[in-house]
């Protein structure tokens, strides 16, 4: 397996050194693995902290900046960060107005952020947490660890980030973040498995001519395997899986997200099919975002996330943002 790396052990640190070189507007502590916006702590502002395994870039470090996250802590590849990182990040960005942890629903992330919240509170910080769990592929959640957190994380971080930037108090920022979670659903598809640097070979075996439906973002296999489908058929399947669970009464934000190895040419083509299905199902679309945002290393494939938005959520989505991976309006 050919990769543009030195050795697997330093992949995350090396990437952070590169982020530091490319983004002087961020403070990147490569050793302790914390990325902080340079002007933090911002006075009178609720701070947003997120984090999770590496390998999902630009999530989360790429979303640090005005209008989105105050800090991010990247873990090892596909492994959640440790509580020390989260506490360090929270302490660095807290202005005295409290910290909101944005946590994806994976056992490791949940446990480590839970421990971090306790430790941060011992240090006198006010901490709230919101759990992102948007993946409809996990159906019988009473027999699992619950729905995974995937693409909706971007919507939560953007909208709650805008609310915090406007100076809303912690309870309100937290409530809006929860509203976004409750209004969002995702479905993912893999055309190939990804390869982690440590393992050096694909994490699961996906024969040519087949695809996995209902994948998460950690190179784990999906719920079902089928013969390869067209973009048209995949869009029908993914959007219908979401609409079986979420019947939007309001317009939706649409995220057509690449898993890392699918070119934009294909993603835009797929976005056209997603739009077609939504039009056929009479779901109004407020805004559409297409690109690689919540990736899974070099996995080929995509995910769709829908978030139904009222006037306030849409206004916060439109608000200015200035981060390495998402920027508009400033």
């Amino acid at each position: 397996m050919k990769m543009l790396i030195n050795v697997p052990e330093t992949v995350v640190t090396d990437a952070l050194r590169g982020m530091a070189a490319a983004h002087p507007e961020l403070v990147v502590d490569a050793e302790n693995r914390v990325i902080v916006r340079r002007d933090a702590p911002v006075a009178d502002k609720v701070a947003l902290v997120s984090g999770g395994g590496s390998g999902h870039e630009p999530l989360h470090g790429g979303f640090v900046g005005p209008g989105m996250l105050d800090a991010a802590c990247p873990g090892e590849v596909f492994t959640s960060p440790v509580p020390d990182q989260m506490v360090r990040a929270a302490a660095a960005v807290d202005s005295g107005n409290g910290v909101l942890f944005v946590v994806k629903n994976y056992t490791g992330d949940v446990l480590n952020f839970q421990m971090a919240a306790e430790l941060a509170e011992d240090e006198g910080l006010q901490v709230a947490s919101v759990l992102v769990n948007d993946d409809v592929a996990v159906t019988d959640s009473t027999f699992t660890a619950g729905r995974r957190g995937t693409g909706a994380t971007l919507f939560v971080e953007k909208i709650a980030g805008a609310a915090a930037e406007e100076g809303m108090p912690l309870e309100r920022v937290e409530a809006l973040a929860r509203q976004v979670v409750e209004s969002s659903r995702s479905f993912g598809v893999a055309l190939s498995a990804c390869t982690t640097p440590a393992k050096g070979s694909p994490t699961f075996d996906l024969p040519a001519g087949e695809l996995e439906l209902g994948v998460g973002i950690h190179g784990e296999p999906g719920r079902e395997r089928r013969a390869m489908m067209t973009s048209h058929e995949i869009a029908d399947f993914a959007v219908d899986a979401i609409l079986a669970d979420l019947q939007p009464r309001l317009p939706v934000l649409v995220l057509v997200n690449g898993m890392g190895a699918t070119p934009l040419l294909e993603l835009y083509g797929f976005a056209a099919e997603v739009r077609r299905v939504l039009d056929e199902r009479e779901v109004a679309v407020a805004r559409t975002l297409v690109g690689n945002y919540v990736t899974s290393l070099d996995m080929a494939g995509c995910s769709v996330t829908l978030c139904q938005v009222d006037g306030e959520l849409l206004r916060l989505w439109e608000a200015p943002v200035e981060t390495p991976a998402l920027r508009w309006g400033r």
Partner: protein
């Protein structure tokens, strides 16, 4: 070994042996994890136990309880994922239960580990039968009543018994039925922990 001889040095030897076993078996743990998880259990445990050994070398505790709490703290700070908090809590809670006695008996160690396993159940919300580390830990702690060898055998048997189970907790749970037929990597690493305990007690 008689029952009253478990001192801090014994617990340090256990942790060093566990680190060596994790190192030796890292590829196998990762291979098991790639079938139903995300292919990193071996590397994560390796990184954590290397830090445990380093910390114990730098500051050698004089009580069994302190050895386990130190090890648990290192695992929480270095492993990440679910394994860090779960293994960290297992050892930390066990260590705290042992207190600062200079020596403990096998029965006292069993009571300490029992408290640790309870804390793991509470933190992770899992129970035996969910295809997790508990499927090795729970029978192992029960069998420690009899002997170290019995505990190691029960842990190994418990790990093997996860093969036909359907995962209900952790990342493997997302596979549903497809998790059946694969041995749980967490139960496998737990069996290693008890195998090395029997090894250093022999």
């Amino acid at each position: 070994m008689s029952d009253s001889e478990l001192d801090a040095a014994f617990f340090v030897r256990w942790m060093v042996a566990a680190a060596a076993a994790v190192e030796r078996e890292a590829d196998r743990l990762t291979e098991l994890d790639s079938a139903i998880g995300d292919a990193d259990h071996g590397n994560n445990m390796q990184r954590g136990f290397a830090a445990v050994v380093k910390a114990l070398e730098a500051d050698a505790p004089t009580a069994p309880g302190a050895v386990l709490t130190s090890a648990g703290r290192q695992l929480i700070s270095t492993v990440g994922g679910a394994s860090g908090p779960l293994y960290g809590t297992l050892l930390r809670r066990s260590g705290k239960t042992l207190g600062d006695a200079a020596q403990v008996t096998r029965q006292e160690l069993r009571a300490g580990l029992r408290a640790g396993v309870d804390a793991v159940m509470q933190l992770g919300g899992a129970a035996p039968g969910d295809k997790t580390m508990l499927d090795a830990l729970v029978p192992a702690v029960a069998a420690l009543e009899t002997s170290f060898e019995a505990a190691a055998a029960a842990a190994e048997e418990g790990a093997l018994a996860t093969v036909p189970m359907r995962a209900r907790k952790g990342r493997a749970s997302y596979l549903g039925e497809r998790s059946i037929g694969h041995q749980d990597p967490g139960a496998t690493s737990s069996a290693l922990l008890f195998a090395t305990l029997a090894e250093v007690a022999a």
